[in-house]
Structure formats: C-alpha cells, structure tokens
C-alpha cells in the first residue's frame, strides 16, 4: 500500500463523498414525499389511486435502478427534446426509485396500526384525512423509522450507480483517478472505506433517533 498516495487523493475523495451524501439526502427527501403520497393513494380505497400507486411501485421496484437512471438521463430527453443535466437526472432517479420503496415502508407502517385507532378517531367526528394526520401517521411514522434508515443506507450505496451519467460523486471520482494511475487497490479501498464510514454514521444516527422517539412516549417521562 502506498499510504502517501492515499493521503494525496483523500481530500478529493472526501469532497466527492459530500456530493454522494447530498445526492442521497436529496433522493431520500424526494422519496419520502413521493412515498407518503403513494402509500396514502394505495390505501385510500379509491381504485384508480391505488392502481396507479401499485403500477408505480411495481415498475420502480421491478426494474434496475441503473436502467431507470439511463431512461431518465438518455431516453426521456430524446422523447421530450430537452438537454439533461446529469446531477438533476441523478437526484430525480434516486428520488423516484426510493419513493417506491418508501411507499411500501409507509404502507406497512400504516397497516400495522390497530384498526381501533381509526375507528376511535372517526367516531369522534374526524374526517379520514384528520384521522390519518393526527392519529395514524404519527404512529406509523415511528414504526417506519428503522426500515427508513435501512432504505437511506441502501440508497447511499445505490447512489454510486449515477456514475454512469458522469455525476462526480465518490464512485465517479474514484474511476477518474484510476484513469491516471496504476495504484488501483489504494483507490478502491479508500472509496470503500469512505462508503463504510458514511453508512455506519447513518446507522448510528438512525439508532439514536429511534431511541429518542421511544423515550418520547414511554415510561421514561414522569407521570
């Protein structure tokens, strides 16, 4: 191992890691919004909504993210005649893709809440929307935190796929450096370590949030 070479490329890889994080955070944020809407459509009981939600989820979970990125960056611009921007295409692809997974996470969370909660809320005169907002979703969101954390980590790793459209995140930067040097092992171990540091940090953070939320409604508070 050439440690001096690693020290030399590390600042560059570090900057690229930040872009990877930014892509992931932007992607998961879009994913959470889309996922929430989709999960509500799915359980709304309105046929056209639930069917549309199902088609969306099935498509984006049933095709490779790599293909989705290619469609968004290469295929759609041909059809709709516009000039794609790599980073925008990347964020959109990650967002729409994670939206499909997040939708299923929220749906499972909502369905895990006891039926009596909705009945109690409705019996008080709340509308379906009010019951969802004040009663069901706060509880469903809490049970969704651990799988959301897993999705965040999965998305961070999957964000490496946007390297095919030349977004200069961690993976692409590694490849660019590789083009100029024979020190391949140093590069890829460094890249792997940086991914690992990011995913473990997120895991610790998610654990922390989960614990905080548990304290929020249990015996820890004084009566």
């Amino acid at each position: 191992m050439r440690w001096d070479f690693i020290a030399e490329i590390l600042p560059k890889l570090f900057r690229a890691s930040i872009l990877t994080l930014e892509l992931t955070v932007a992607g998961i944020s879009i994913g959470i919004v889309i996922g929430l809407i989709t999960s509500l459509m799915r359980i709304s009981g309105i046929k056209i909504f639930s069917a549309a939600a199902k088609v969306y989820v099935d498509f984006f979970r049933g095709t490779p993210l790599l293909v989705q990125i290619a469609i968004i960056h290469y295929a759609l611009p041909v059809i709709f005649h516009y000039v794609p921007v790599a980073i925008v295409s990347g964020v959109i692809a990650l967002g729409i893709n994670s939206g499909a997974y997040v939708a299923e996470i929220f749906r499972a969370g909502i369905q895990s809440i006891d039926k009596g909660q909705m009945e109690a809320a409705r019996s008080l005169g709340m509308t379906w929307g009010q019951a969802m907002r004040y009663i069901i979703l706060p509880q469903a969101f809490k049970v969704s935190i651990p799988p959301l954390g897993n999705e965040f980590i999965a998305l961070l790793k999957d964000s490496s796929l946007v390297s095919i459209i030349a977004v200069e995140e961690l993976m692409t930067t590694g490849r660019l450096i590789m083009g100029k040097t024979p020190l391949v092992a140093e590069i890829w171990f460094s890249v792997a370590m940086l991914y690992l540091i990011m995913t473990s940090t997120i895991a610790v953070f998610v654990n922390y949030v989960e614990r905080r939320l548990q304290i929020g409604d249990s015996s820890q508070r004084s009566i």
């Binding site: 929020g216 004084s222 009566i223």
Partner: protein, 240 residues
C-alpha cells in the same frame, strides 16, 4: 332521539342483523344484552355507521344517519362511542387524547379545549394522570379517559360497546360508576354489556338480542324476573 327502522346488516352471506326496529327516547338508558354473536356490537356500530348497514333507516336527533347525502362526520360529533378495547391514542397524553377532537373537529382554541379536558378528567377522577400516556394507565383508568374523550365533544348520545369486558374484575366498578353518573345526569345511552347488575340498576330498558333480532325488551324487572321467552330465561340463567 334514535329511531331505527328495518335495519339489516350482512357480512357476505352471513346475515347478522335481521330487521331491527327500535325507538330510543331522550335521556333513556338502554342496555343491550344477549349471547356473543347475536349482533349486539354490530347493531351499536351501525348506529354511527362504523359498520355500513345493508339496508334500513337510522335517524338520530331528527337527522338521517343512513343515506347518500348525510355528512356522517357531523352526526358522529353528536354520538360518542366507547370501545371494549379503549382505543386511546398511544402517542398522546390523557389530556391530549381528550383535547384533540374538540380542537380539530369543533375548532376550539387550545385554551378552551384544555379547560374542557381538565374538567372531564376531574369528572372521571383522573386529574393527577393528566400527563400520563395510555400505556402508563391501568385498563380502568384508560377506559375512564376514553369516556372523557368521547364526552369532550359534548355528544347527545353515548354508545358503549362492552366497555368493561376487557377489564380486570377489580376495576370494572370504577368504570361503571362513571357510567352511572352519566346516566343520572340524563345522558342518552345505549350500552352493550354483560354487566347484568348495571343493566338492572341503571337501565331504563333492557333489550335481549338473539340471532340478529330484538327477541324481547322491557324494563329490567320484566326481563330479569318475568322473561317471556325460553331463550331469554336460558341465557339469563347461564349468566346470572
């Protein structure tokens, strides 16, 4: 106050309610008794349309409950319901459980809602539990909070769906006492129950339900001491 005409309810091919007719007057306390599976809870849940009646008509306080044009949310504001399994909101404190509907549905200010909630908690004897979460309360305490939550909407009718069936025997009394107080204050109440002592003491009328029908109804004395039907007598002899 409540008028029910030819109420039928089917779950698939299973006919649970087979033509119910009744008239419940204002301030009346009606206890519905009967074997499990006889349709008692389904009848109660049809009254505020938690179950959709298959056919028939329900009118509460001169407003039709059934029918396409009905805004069911408006009717439910006037019809409180207490569940067997309490169904308190676990992410909210006792006080917040009671305040939520007045604030979000009746559009009361937070201050007003809190006054209502404090008053009701005092009424059910749980002022000191105002900031407790449901899981920190005993079953009896949870059910009392649930009653307070329903009362916070100032309903005209209260429906009780086996309110003491999920409780330990030693706390049944505290819930029944709250219900007795309500009855004395003149609340119109429909109570599905297995508590024959309560039905006898508090009920103005007792309805014996069997196989989806109101087989027999009358004053507690008529039902408990002079039942006309063998089915009623057989049921009562088993349970008393």
């Amino acid at each position: 106050m409540i008028v029910v005409k030819d109420l039928y309810k089917k779950f698939g091919n299973l006919e649970v309610l087979k033509g119910i007719n009744c008239h419940i007057r204002e301030q009346e306390v009606v206890c519905v008794i009967g074997p499990s599976g006889s349709g008692k809870s389904t009848f109660l849940r049809c009254l505020n349309r938690l179950e959709e009646p298959t056919s028939g008509e329900i009118i509460i306080d001169n407003i039709p409950v059934t029918g396409e044009k009905t805004n069911i949310n408006l009717i439910r504001q006037e019809v409180g319901m207490v569940f067997q399994r309490f169904n308190l909101f676990p992410h909210l404190t006792a006080l917040e459980n009671i305040m939520l509907a007045p604030m979000k549905v009746r559009k009361k200010s937070k201050k007003e809602a809190m006054e209502i909630a404090e008053e009701l908690l005092a009424k059910v004897g749980l002022t000191e539990k105002r900031n407790a979460y449901p899981e920190q309360l005993s079953g009896g305490q949870q059910q009392r909070v649930a009653i307070a939550r329903a009362l916070a909407m100032k309903p005209k009718v209260m429906l009780f769906d086996e309110p003491t069936s999920a409780l330990d025997p030693e706390v049944v009394g505290e819930v029944l006492n709250v219900m007795k107080t309500l009855a004395k204050e003149g609340m119109t109440m429909v109570v599905v129950t297995h508590e024959m002592g309560f039905a006898r003491e508090v009920g103005d009328r007792v309805i014996f339900m069997d196989d989806g029908c109101f087989l027999e109804e009358g004053t507690p004395d008529e039902i408990f001491n002079n039942a006309k039907y063998d089915r009623t007598r057989a049921f009562l002899s088993k349970i008393l």
